[in-house]
Symmetry: C2
Subunit: 101 residues, 2 copies
DNA sequence: ATAACATGTTATATTTATATAACATGTCAA
DNA sequence: TTGACATGTTATATAAATATAACATGTTAT
């Protein structure tokens, strides 16, 4: 269910792309300028992975392709997946506190 | 910084292992019984990735190896990484509400 | 002591992800 | 309309993740 999103977030380059898009949408060549170490094809492949995970929404405008961040899948993981783990961490810390007192 | 954790969470099998460990610690053979489709070596490799990301803490007891969940790295991602994205999602929704009213 | 058990180690096959190269299409602006 | 630009497509090389196999060590219970 969250698999595509987790996989998309696994690569540091893709998280960096999301960081850039959080500030404002960007065209693909904007992104290529931001990541001069990467080939344009590499950037596009990463964008495809992000778009497949619905983390990036693409809007074509003339000859430009505007890439927009969609943070909802991340919020969804936050709401439905992380909760129980955060609770587990809190529980362990509580037990530790209790043991120390 | 969070890279090892994100990478560790990327594989569905590893997330399933964490789900099991959230209920209670388990020995490696417990886990192998829970995942009969996987070879024991595969389970151990996944545990190594999880342990390297500090998501699993290993405690040796005699001939058994007890694997404990450590949810703190997940809580850390929650606290320091997800926040800005959740804010972005909320902001977009607010703008949408405003546009509709 | 010894057989069954639980785990550890090393090597390797298979699959998947990452990064480029080469070429193609569509768009804008002078 | 034509040259520069932005993007798309297909193929391929390289690196990394995933899954097993074969063998080894240490531990427990009888």
């Amino acid at each position: 269910m969250f698999d595509a999103v987790f996989k998309a977030l696994a690569a540091p380059t893709r998280r960096q792309i999301l960081d850039v898009l959080r500030d404002h949408p960007a065209t693909t060549s904007d992104l290529c300028n931001r990541f001069p170490a990467l080939d344009r094809c590499t950037v596009m492949q990463h964008l495809k992975v992000l778009a497949d995970a619905d983390l990036v929404i693409v809007q074509r405008k003339g000859r430009e392709r505007w890439n927009h961040l969609n943070a909802l899948p991340i919020k969804r993981i936050h709401d439905r997946w992380i909760g129980p783990y955060a609770a587990h961490a809190a529980e362990v810390i509580d037990k530790l506190d209790l043991a120390l007192s």
